[in-house]
C-alpha cells in the first residue's frame, strides 16, 4: 500500500509540475467605479512597458485624462519589458483577450504590420485630417510603412554617454569634455581605469551592457544600413547588411576595449539598471544608456538613501561615434498601436486617448518626467520643457543629437520582420566576441549569415 501511494504521489507531482508551465493570470477588467453621469463611458485597457519614474509620469498623465472627461476611461496595465508585452500579445491573440492599445518598441514595426492585428492610426488621421505638421518628421517616417502611419509614436529616446565628472577630475580630464568618438573613448579609458597593485581592476572606466541596440545606433550614426533594400524600406529586406567594414570596426572596438582595459560587462541586463548602478556605486566611470533613464537617475541622485551612492556628479554627452560619421542616431523608443480585435468603439476611445498623450502639453510633461523627448516640435517651447532643460541640461543632449541627424535610409531605421530574433543573434555574437575571444569579424559574419537565414525563413513562412 505504501508503495502504491509512493508511485501515485510521484505521478501526481510530475504531472502537476508539467502543467504548471502555462500559468497566466487573467486580465482584470477594471471594476473600479468610474462615475458615469450621462452618456456612455468606454473603458479601455492599455498594456505598457514603462517602469520607475516613467511609469509614475504615465500614470499621472492618464489620471489627468480620466479625470478630464467621462467618455473614455483608460486602465493602465504594466506588462514588463517590450518583449514581454509582445509575447503576451501574440499569446493572447487566439482568445481575443487583448488590450485596445499596446505600447511596443520600434523594432516590432514590421512584425506588427505583417501580423494583421493593427488598425493603422493613418485611418483616423485621414478621416479627421489630423495635422501632423507639428510632429518630428523623422519620428513619423520611422513608423510609416508603405505610405501608412501604423502606430502613433509616443516615447522617443536615444542612447547617450553618462559619466561621473568626479572621476574625470581625479585623473586630470576635463569634466566638460566627454569623448566624442569610440577611438577617443578608448583613449579616455586608458586614463580612467584604476588598477590595484596586483593588476586587478579597482575601478572600470566604462560599464557596458550587451545590448544590440547600440550596434544598430552606431551603424546609423556611421551612415550604414542594417539590412538590404534600403533598410527594408525600398522593398522587403532579404539579407542582413550589418557585417560591413563599419560593423566589423564596432565589434573590434568592443573586443579591444574588453581586452585592453577590462571594461565592465553588465551582461544582457534584463532589468535595465545594472550599468547605471555601477556608476552610482562608483564601480565604473562611464556607461552608455538610454536617455529615457534620465528622470529616474536625477531623482535617485537627488534623493539618496535607498542605496549608498558614491561621490557622483552626473555628466552626459552624445553617443560617441566616428570621426567620419555620415549619419545620425536612430529613432529609439516605442509607439502606441491600436488593435483591431477590439470593438470599434474601443478603438475610437483609444484614438482619443492617444491624441491626448501626443498633445504638445502632455509631451512636454512626459519629457520632463521621463527623459523621452517630445515628438511635437512646439512642445519644446512650453514651460514644462523649458524648466527641465534649464534645471538639467542633460535632457537636451539626446534631443540635440537626434535633431542633428539627417534623414537617410540609414537613419530612418531598419524594418525587419523577425527583428527580435535578429537582435538575439547579434547579442550572442557580441557575447562571443567579448567573452570567448572569438575573432570579432568572424563572429559578425556568422551572425549576419544566421540573420539572413532567419529573415528569409520569415519571409517564406508569411508568404512574401
Amino acid at each position: 500500500m505504501k508503495r502504491a501511494f509512493m508511485f501515485l504521489a510521484i505521478l501526481l507531482l510530475a504531472l502537476g509540475l508539467a502543467a504548471c508551465g502555462g500559468g497566466e493570470e487573467g486580465t482584470t477588467t477594471g471594476a473600479e467605479g468610474t462615475a458615469t453621469p450621462a452618456g456612455k463611458t468606454v473603458k479601455i485597457t492599455f498594456w505598457h512597458a514603462m517602469g520607475a519614474a516613467n511609469q509614475e509620469t504615465l500614470k499621472r498623465l492618464t489620471d489627468q485624462f480620466n479625470a478630464s472627461q467621462t467618455e473614455v476611461q483608460v486602465e493602465l496595465q504594466f506588462q514588463g519589458t517590450y518583449e514581454d508585452n509582445l509575447n503576451k500579445l501574440v499569446a493572447s491573440r487566439a482568445s481575443g483577450d487583448v488590450p485596445a492599445i499596446i505600447q511596443l518598441h520600434d523594432v516590432t514595426t514590421q512584425f506588427l504590420v505583417d501580423s494583421g492585428m493593427l488598425t493603422p492610426v493613418q485611418e483616423f488621421i485621414d478621416r479627421e485630417n489630423y495635422d501632423l505638421s507639428d510632429f518630428q518628421p523623422r519620428v513619423i517616417e520611422y513608423y510609416t510603412v508603405d505610405g501608412k502611419l501604423w502606430g502613433m509614436p509616443f516615447n522617443v529616446s536615444n542612447p547617450i554617454l553618462y559619466y561621473n565628472k568626479v572621476h574625470f577630475r581625479e585623473v586630470g580630464l576635463d569634466p566638460d569634455k566627454p569623448p566624442r568618438t569610440l577611438e577617443e573613448l578608448t583613449q579616455y579609458c586608458q586614463k580612467l581605469t584604476i588598477r590595484n597593485e596586483t593588476g586587478g581592476i579597482e575601478r572600470h572606466c566604462i560599464a557596458l551592457e550587451v545590448s544590440p541596440w547600440y550596434i544598430e545606433q552606431l551603424l546609423a550614426v556611421s551612415g550604414d544600413l542594417y539590412v538590404n533594400n534600403g533598410n527594408g524600406r525600398d522593398a522587403r529586406a532579404t539579407e542582413a547588411a550589418f557585417n560591413g567594414p563599419r560593423g566589423k570596426e564596432i565589434f573590434q572596438w568592443w573586443h579591444d576595449l574588453m581586452d585592453s582595459v577590462d571594461a565592465q560587462n553588465m551582461g544582457r541586463n534584463p532589468g535595465g539598471d545594472l550599468h547605471f548602478l555601477a556608476i552610482g556605486v562608483g564601480q565604473a566611470t562611464m556607461t552608455i544608456g538610454t536617455s529615457a533613464a534620465l528622470r529616474t537617475i536625477v531623482d535617485v541622485l537627488e534623493a539618496p538613501g535607498s542605496i549608498q551612492l558614491a561621490d557622483v556628479e552626473l555628466g552626459t554627452g552624445p553617443l560617441p561615434g566616428f570621426a567620419d560619421a555620415k549619419g545620425g542616431s536612430l529613432v529609439g523608443g516605442a509607439a502606441l498601436w491600436i488593435l483591431n480585435q477590439r470593438p470599434k468603439e474601443e478603438q475610437e476611445a483609444a484614438w482619443k486617448y492617444i491624441k491626448y498623450l501626443v498633445d504638445p502639453q502632455q509631451q512636454a510633461e512626459w519629457y520632463s518626467g521621463s527623459g523621452y523627448f517630445p515628438i511635437r516640435l512646439s512642445a519644446y517651447d512650453l514651460p514644462a520643457a523649458k524648466e527641465v532643460e534649464a534645471k538639467y541640461p542633460h535632457f537636451r543632449v539626446a534631443v540635440d543629437q537626434f535633431l542633428r541627424a539627417p534623414s537617410t535610409r540609414a537613419t530612418q531605421g531598419a524594418l525587419v520582420g523577425p527583428f527580435v530574433r535578429v537582435r538575439e543573434i547579434v547579442q550572442k555574437a557580441v557575447e562571443q566576441t567579448i567573452l570567448t575571444g572569438k575573432d570579432p569579424g568572424q563572429a559578425l559574419d556568422e551572425a549576419a549569415a544566421q540573420a539572413t537565414q532567419e529573415i528569409q525563413d520569415y519571409n517564406r513562412r508569411i508568404g512574401r
Binding site: 500500500m1 510530475a14 548602478l277 555601477a278 556605486v281 564601480q283 530574433r421 550572442k428
Partner: protein, 312 residues
C-alpha cells in the same frame, strides 16, 4: 484500491449473472463519479496538451503562431540534429547534477538536525522548510539582488574576505552555478520536509535494538536510518530530478538563458521557441522530447534504485 479489485463472489445460479454484471457496472459508475474531478482536470490540462503537442510537432508554424503546412517528421529531424538542442540537453544534465545530489545531502542534513528533540526545535523546523512557501519569482528576485555585480551582498563578503569578486551571472563559467545555487536553496525546503517526515516514521524500537547491539552513531545511520529512509530517498531523487528538468522561472529571471546559452536548459529553449519566435511547432517537438526524456529517466531511476529500496 478497493474499488478496482474484484472480491470473490459466492457462486450464483446463471440467472444471477445479469444482476452481477449490473452490480459491477454500478460500481464502475460509482468509481467514475469519484474519479471524475481528477479525470477532467488531467484531461484538460495534461492529456489534451500532451496529445496536442505531438500533433503540433508535425506542422510548421508561421511567424505569427498560426499553424502552417504539414511537414511530417521534418521538425523532429531538425531538432534532433540541431547543435542547440544538444547543447540545451547537456546544460540540463549539468544543471540536474549540480542541483539534485547537493539538495539531497543538504536536505537530509537539515532534516537530521531538525529531528532532534530539543526545546524550540519547531522554530528551526519551520525555518528549514520555509522555502517551500517561497515562490520561484520571489526567490529569484532575492538571489538576483544578492548576486548583483554592484550592490550584491555575496560579492561584498567575498571582497571583505580578500577574495576576488565573481561576475556570477555574466560570466559563462559561473552563471549555471549561480542559477543552481538559487535552485538548491529553493528546493531545500521540500527535501527537508519529506526527509523529516521519513525520519519521524522510523520506529524508535529499531534504534533501541541497534543501541542494545552496540551500534555507534555511524553504524546506526548506515544500517537503520538509511535503509528505513530509502523510500523517501527514492522519492526525493525522482521528484528532484523532475523539478530540475522543468526549472524555468529562476533561469528567466536571473540570466535569460545567457550568457552565451550557458544556462539555456531545455525548458528555456522551449520557451524561447514558443514565446519569442512563436514557432510552436519546433517548441512542441522539444517538449515531446523533454517528456520522453523525463519519462525514461524516471523509469530508469525507479527500476534501478528501487531494488535498493526497503519497504517496511
Amino acid at each position: 484500491m478497493a474499488v478496482t479489485t474484484t472480491e470473490p463472489l459466492p457462486v450464483l445460479p446463471l440467472a444471477g449473472l445479469a444482476a452481477r454484471g449490473l452490480a459491477q457496472l454500478k460500481r464502475l459508475a460509482f468509481a467514475l463519479i469519484f474519479l471524475s474531478p481528477s479525470i477532467i482536470l488531467f484531461g484538460v490540462f495534461i492529456f489534451y496538451p500532451l496529445v496536442k503537442s505531438v500533433y503540433l510537432g508535425f506542422y510548421e508554424t508561421d511567424p505569427l503562431g498560426n499553424q502552417g503546412d504539414f511537414v511530417a517528421l521534418d521538425q523532429y529531424r531538425t531538432v534532433l540534429t540541431s547543435e542547440d538542442f544538444r547543447h540545451a540537453l547537456w546544460i540540463t544534465v549539468l544543471f540536474t547534477l549540480y542541483t539534485v545530489p547537493p539538495g539531497i545531502v543538504l536536505g537530509l542534513g537539515l532534516a537530521m538536525l531538525a529531528n532532534q528533540k530539543l526545546p524550540g526545535i519547531s522554530i528551526f523546523r519551520t525555518a528549514f522548510s520555509s522555502t517551500v512557501a517561497t515562490s520561484v519569482a520571489v526567490a529569484s528576485m532575492m538571489w538576483l539582488t544578492l548576486l548583483n555585480p554592484s550592490v550584491g551582498l555575496i560579492n561584498y563578503f567575498l571582497q571583505e574576505a580578500d577574495l576576488p569578486r565573481i561576475d556570477w551571472l555574466n560570466d559563462p563559467d559561473w552563471a549555471l552555478l549561480a542559477v543552481s545555487l538559487t535552485t538548491i536553496w529553493l528546493n531545500l525546503g521540500l527535501a527537508t520536509i519529506v526527509f523529516l517526515a521519513g525520519l519521524q516514521s522510523i520506529p524508535e524500537r529499531l534504534y533501541e535494538s541497534a543501541r542494545i547491539d552496540g551500534a555507534g552513531r555511524w553504524a546506526t545511520f548506515l544500517h537503520v536510518t538509511l535503509p528505513m529512509l530509502s523510500p523517501t530517498l527514492l522519492f526525493v531523487t525522482v521528484v528532484g530530478t523532475i523539478l530540475a528538468f522543468e526549472s524555468f522561472g529562476q533561469i528567466h529571471i536571473l540570466t535569460r538563458g545567457g550568457p552565451l546559452d550557458a544556462t539555456t536548459v531545455i525548458v528555456y529553449s522551449i520557451w524561447q521557441e514558443a514565446f519569442q519566435r512563436f514557432d510552436y511547432g519546433v517548441a512542441a517537438v522539444q517538449a515531446v522530447g523533454l517528456f520522453i526524456l523525463v519519462l525514461g529517466l524516471t523509469g530508469l531511476q525507479i527500476r534501478f534504485l528501487e531494488r535498493r529500496v526497503f519497504y517496511q
